[in-house]
Amino acid sequence: MPVEIIDQGIGPLFMDPDPDNAREFFRGKNRKLEKKVMSLKEAIAKYVHDGDYIAIGGFGANRTPVAACHEIVRQKRKHLGFAGHTATHDMEILSAGEVFDRLDVAYVVGLEARGLSTCSRKYVESGKVKLTEWTNYALTMRLKAAAMGIPFIPCRNLMGTDTFKYSAAKLITCPFTGKKLTALPALYPDVAVIHVHSADIYGNCRFKGIAVSDIDLANASKRVIITAERMIPTREIKRDPTMTRIPYHLVDAVCEVRFGAYPGTMPYEYFSDEDHLKEWLSSERDPEKFKEFLKRNVFDCKDHEEYVQRNGGSEKMRQLRAKEILLEEG
């Protein structure tokens, strides 16, 4: 049975899918059990460079490392590539900073039921950003292929659509069944940032609730920055290693950032601050007002704690926790 490339998308492939090149990198990566605790400012300065390809964990505004997105904008990174995988509020922040100019699109410019982000839209419509179209699962599978150390993985989505045409996927035939399959190239991000419930000083991580694509993301990425709601001792990790979702070998930096997903949701910790997210969306409609808004909420904040303080602080977080845990539902 012949195997052939029947068709291929015209979108640019931003990252090298060659597993041997990635293997050379991972061979040299430090996997010693070492203390990796640092400030978020330090971690972004050290591990996120202009031109890097970055991926953000969580799902848009759920367990998303918002603090890290702010810090990337504060540090004025430029020319990043960005995996627009379930990207909502994270994309909104990074668009405000115009930090990226290459975008793998799965879900972008929207905040789901909350509506579209003017800022993200205008930026993507501006022509300043090179785009390749994918789907949420296609990007998950591309990360899975990278995690597996293979250059591509077959899938059964995309066929027959413009999403395929504007992707960098290929259409091949199956060597066993002769069926048509999409071939999705491995995606090895230069750096990933993932927000978790708890981590030890070496980077062993736990989180509760849906994993989204974060485990494959941590495996696939050359560098991994962890922001954690709280630090826990290593003896707790060792007491129950089944609960470790990301092991220390993968991790380059561990940053303790309380409320690090605010104004998004952190499962079992705090619900999203819908009023503040609306404030983002509404202020974006007026460029002057949005500049002010960004100055107040991003550029003038020395860190995430100040951002939380400026938007209600501990009383607000108390309310959001009550909402998240459905405190009054009994």
Partner: protein, 256 residues
């Protein structure tokens, strides 16, 4: 007869399609409302799955995001996006609801751009999980208000596959066999797809609308089933549960 708005009607009609014990991949908003309504009326064992990894939750309220905590509240499993999509790809998921800025006569959907891809007039979110659900789930349904801007002869961009160019084109494309668009539920009518041509076909017209209204508000010629009925409006029970239990804050039905 009960007083209701078009959103309440679409959700009620959609909910009746979800038989007990079937599986549905849902997003936020109307689709989620339809699934919740079905569970509370005819299909208590309807299996609800969310793209981001929530399996069979007890939804305490409408989720704001397909990844927020409500989507795995008292769930059978809090898994991953890979888990959910593997279920869909493996053939485990019967229904999904999708939408878009444009739909054509074959049920193909555009949620990516209006205008040119590189320099669009309007950029939309893109596929998200829509192309995945639309490729993998057995039966894809759409709930949408109907007008000539939305129901178009030609999409600016085909984000998610319907019946592609009709006929046998979908099965020839390599997409999983036996999958495809099933019902299109609008404020004016309910459509299915003619089995051979795979073109959109009116099967029932909603109370208060005429066949003429339906065609006039569609940018392409609609086929007509042999006996077109009147869409059964929301029952008192459907409306009561929808308003009191499913969407008390009218997040969704308020938009009808």
């Amino acid at each position: 007869m009960a007083d209701y708005n078009s959103m309440e009607l679409m959700i009620s009609v959609a909910s009746r399609e979800l038989e007990d014990g079937s599986t549905v991949g849902v997003g936020t908003g109307a689709p989620c409302a339809a699934a919740m309504l079905a569970q509370k009326i005819s299909s208590p064992k309807l299996v609800i799955m969310f793209e981001a990894g929530g399996f069979s939750p007890e939804l305490p309220e409408m989720p704001i995001s397909v990844g927020d905590s409500r989507t795995f509240y008292k769930a059978a499993m809090a898994g991953s996006m890979g888990d959910t999509m593997e279920y869909c790809s493996r053939g485990f998921v019967d229904y999904t609801f999708l939408g878009g800025a444009q739909i054509d006569m074959y049920g193909n959907l555009n949620s990516t751009v209006i205008g040119d891809h590189a320099r669009p007039k309007v950029r939309f979110p893109g596929s998200g999980g829509a192309n995945d659900f639309g490729s993998f789930c057995w039966r894809m349904m759409v709930m949408t208000p109907q007008d000539t801007k939305r129901f178009v002869e030609k999409l600016d961009f085909m984000t998610t596959p319907g019946w592609l160019t009709g006929g046998t084109s979908r099965e020839e494309s390599g997409l999983p066999l036996g999958t495809g668009p099933y019902k299109i539920i609008t404020n004016m009518a309910v459509m299915d797809f003619e089995p051979t041509s795979k073109r959109m076909r009116i099967i029932s017209v909603n109370p208060g609308y005429s066949l003429r209204d339906v065609q006039d508000n569609c940018g392409f010629e609609l086929l007509k089933a042999d006996n077109i009925t009147e869409t059964l409006p929301p029952s008192e029970q459907e409306l009561r549960i929808l308003r009191e239990v499913v969407d008390p804050y009218r997040y969704v039905i308020g938009r009808g």
